[in-house]
C-alpha cells in the first residue's frame, strides 16, 4: 500500500511532478501512463527516493519513506528498469542474489531463493545460473532483471518501462507472465509505461499523467468509458476503444447456455480474442470450453458486440 500525498518535484522553475496525490492499494498493479516528459518516471522514482521531492510525502504501509535510511528503504522495494541494468561482471545467479546479499542472508537461503526464482521465471537453474548477462537473449535478460527485483521478497515492486526493450511477441508473453507471478505472490506493483495497451493489459488501476499532473486515476474500464480529458481520450485511441473494453474480460464472463459448432474458444481467452476468432471464422456463435476441454456453453457474436458498446 502506497499513499502519495501532494507530491511535487521542481527542476528549476519547471514542475516535473505537480501536486500529485494517489493511493495504491496493496496487492494490485497500478500502471502510470504518460508521454515522455509527463513526469511518470519522476513520480515513481520519488517512491524509493531516487529523486527527492520538493514537497509532499510518500507513505508505504503507513510509514513515511523518510523514516528509513535511504539504502534500507530501497532494499525492501523491488526495482526493475527498461534496459534491465544487470551487472555484466556477475553471473545470473549472482545478479539475482544482489539484494539478499546486501541484506546479509545466509548462503544457503540465498541459493535456495535464486533457484526458486529461476524456476518461477522458467529459466533452468542448471543451464542459466552461471551464465553472464551478455550470453542471454533480450527476453531472458528481462526475466532475470525482474527476478533480481523480486529476490528479497519485497512487498512493493517498482518497474520503469520493464518491457520497453522487448519485441512485441516476447513482450506480450512477459506481460502475461508478470501478471501471473503478481497474482501468485500478491506483490504490489507500480509500473511506468508510455503504452496504454500495456497499461490496460496489466493495470488494476491506471494513472494518466501529463505535464506533471495526474489527469485521471481509475480502473481501466472507467478510463475507457469515461476518459476525464481529451488527452486521456487521445491516449486510449477512439477506434480501439470497444476492443480494449472487450479485452478487460474473459470469455468465461459472457458464456450463454446452448451449443455451437466449430473449434472451441478457451474460457480464459479475452473477449477481444473471442470476438476476433468469431469474425475470422465467419460464425455467429462458438462453443466455450474450460482448461480440461469440457464444454461450458457458447459465446454469441451479437452479445459480444453489445458488450463492446459504450455503457450508458
Amino acid at each position: 500500500m502506497i499513499e502519495i500525498e501532494r507530491l511535487t518535484k521542481y527542476y528549476g522553475p519547471h514542475a516535473a511532478v505537480d501536486d500529485v496525490s494517489m493511493f495504491v492499494p496493496a496487492g494490485s498493479i497500478t500502471a502510470i501512463v504518460g508521454t515522455s516528459g509527463s513526469g511518470k518516471s519522476t513520480l515513481m522514482r520519488m517512491v524509493n527516493r531516487l529523486v527527492d521531492p520538493t514537497s509532499g510525502h510518500v507513505q508505504i504501509d503507513g510509514r513515511d519513506t523518510t523514516e528509513f535510511p535511504v539504502h534500507e528503504l530501497r532494499r525492501h522495494i523491488g526495482y526493475a528498469i527498461q534496459n534491465h541494468g544487470l551487472f555484466p561482471h556477475r553471473t545470473v545467479a549472482q545478479n539475482i542474489a544482489t539484494v539478499p546479499r546486501l541484506l546479509g542472508w545466509t548462503r544457503s537461503r540465498i541459493a535456495a531463493r535464486v533457484e526458486e526464482l529461476l524456476i518461477l521465471f522458467q529459466l533452468d537453474p542448471g543451464e542459466f545460473a552461471d551464465r553472464r548477462p551478455h550470453e542471454l537473449s533480450g527476453g531472458q535478460q528481462q526475466r532475470v532483471g525482474v527476478a533480481r527485483a523480486l529476490a528479497a521478497e519485497p512487498k512493493l515492486l517498482l518497474m520503469d518501462e520493464p518491457f520497453g526493450a522487448l519485441d512485441p511477441i516476447i513482450r506480450a508473453k512477459a506481460q502475461d507472465d508478470l501478471k501471473k507471478i503478481q497474482r501468485k505472490l500478491g506483490t504490489t506493483i507500480l509500473l511506468v509505461t508510455h503504452d496504454m495497451e500495456e497499461a490496460i493489459r496489466l493495470g488494476d488501476r491506471i494513472a494518466v499523467m501529463d505535464h506533471g499532473r495526474l489527469l485521471q486515476y481509475a480502473p481501466p474500464a472507467e478510463i475507457l468509458i469515461h476518459p476525464a480529458t481529451d488527452f486521456v481520450g487521445d491516449l486510449i485511441g477512439t477506434e480501439d476503444r470497444p476492443f480494449r473494453l472487450l479485452s478487460l474480460e474473459t470469455a468465461a464472463a459472457a458464456i450463454e447456455p446452448g451449443e455451437a459448432g466449430g473449434p472451441a474458444i478457451a474460457a480464459e481467452a479475452t473477449l477481444r480474442e473471442a470476438l476476433a476468432a468469431l469474425i475470422w471464422s465467419g460464425r455467429r456463435a462458438a462453443p466455450v470450453t474450460d482448461a480440461e476441454g469440457r464444454p461450458l456453453g457458447r459465446l454469441v457474436l451479437q452479445s459480444l458486440i453489445e458488450r463492446a458498446a459504450r455503457p450508458s
Binding site: I81, P88, H89, H134, G145, R148
Partner: protein, 252 residues
C-alpha cells in the same frame, strides 16, 4: 601449429633473456663482434641480474604509488563530494607530465640527494597521468542503467564503488597501468645518471667507454623486459575484460 607460434616466440625471447641474465658470458662471442680490440664484450662491473632486479623494483615501487594516487584521485573526483576538484586535479596531473624526466631528476637531486629517490619521483610523476586518465574514463563510463539499478536496489556509495564501479572499470584502469609501466621501464634508465641502480648503468658505461657491446646489451635487455611485461599485462587485461563482461575494443 600457427596458434602456438606467438607463444613459442615469447617463450624463446624469455629464455634468451634469462640465459643472458644468469650466464652473460654465453653471449660473449656474439657481442665481441661489436667491440674494439681489447674491450670487454660483457658488462662486468656489476651483476646484470641484480641490476635488472633493482631496475624492476624501482619501476614497481614508483608505479604502485602512482596507481594508488592516480586511482584514488580518480575515485575521489568521480564521487559527488569530489566533483569540484575534477578540473584542478586534471591540471595538476597534466603538469607532472609536461616536466621532462631529466629536469625532474635535476631538480630533485639537490632536495633528496643522489640515488633511487629522484628516479622514483620522476617515474611517479610520469606514471600518474595515464593511470589517472584511464581510471577516470573507466569510472565515468559505467553503463548508466547499471548504476541506476545498483542505486535503486539499495547499494550504498561504498558498496557500489567496490562491487560495481571498480570491477567494471578495472580493464581500463589496467590499461593505464600497463602504459605507465612501459614508460617507466624505459625512463628508469636515465636514473643511472644520478646513481640509481638500474640497467641504465650498462648503457652509460658503454657511452663513456665507447663500448658498443655495452650499449647494445643494456638497451636490448631494457627493451625485451619492457616488451615482455607489456605483453603479459595485455593478456591479464583481456582476461579481466572478459570477466567483467566488457570488451576492450568498445572503449577505444
Amino acid at each position: 601449429m600457427r596458434a602456438y607460434l606467438p607463444l613459442a616466440v615469447r617463450l624463446g625471447v624469455l629464455a634468451l633473456l634469462i640465459l643472458y641474465l644468469v650466464r652473460p658470458q654465453t653471449f660473449a662471442p656474439a657481442l665481441s663482434l661489436l667491440t674494439e680490440p681489447g674491450q670487454p664484450p660483457i658488462y662486468d662491473r656489476a651483476d646484470v641480474l641484480s641490476l635488472t632486479l633493482s631496475h624492476l623494483t624501482t619501476v614497481f615501487i614508483a608505479i604502485s604509488a602512482a596507481t594508488i594516487v592516480g586511482v584514488g584521485l580518480a575515485i575521489l573526483v568521480t564521487r559527488p563530494i569530489g566533483e569540484e576538484f575534477l578540473p584542478l586535479s586534471r591540471s595538476i596531473v597534466n603538469i607532472g607530465q609536461t616536466f621532462p624526466p631529466v629536469a625532474v631528476l635535476a631538480l630533485a637531486v639537490p632536495i633528496v640527494g643522489f640515488g633511487e629517490a629522484p628516479t622514483l619521483i620522476a617515474l611517479f610523476l610520469y606514471g600518474l597521468l595515464p593511470i589517472f586518465e584511464n581510471a577516470l574514463t573507466g569510472l565515468s563510463r559505467v553503463n548508466p542503467a547499471v548504476l541506476d539499478a545498483a542505486r535503486g536496489m539499495g547499494m550504498t556509495e561504498t558498496e557500489r564503488l567496490w562491487q560495481v564501479d571498480l570491477p567494471l572499470a578495472l580493464p581500463v584502469i589496467l590499461e593505464g597501468i600497463r602504459l605507465s609501466v612501459a614508460i617507466g621501464l624505459s625512463t628508469a634508465t636515465i636514473g643511472s645518471t644520478v646513481a640509481a641502480k638500474g640497467l641504465g648503468e650498462v648503457i652509460i658505461a658503454g657511452l663513456s667507454s665507447n663500448n658498443l657491446a655495452f650499449i647494445v646489451q643494456g638497451g636490448v635487455v631494457v627493451a625485451v623486459v619492457a616488451v615482455l611485461i607489456y605483453d603479459g599485462l595485455s593478456g591479464v587485461e583481456r582476461l579481466v575484460a572478459r570477466r567483467a563482461g566488457t570488451v576492450l575494443q568498445e572503449e577505444s
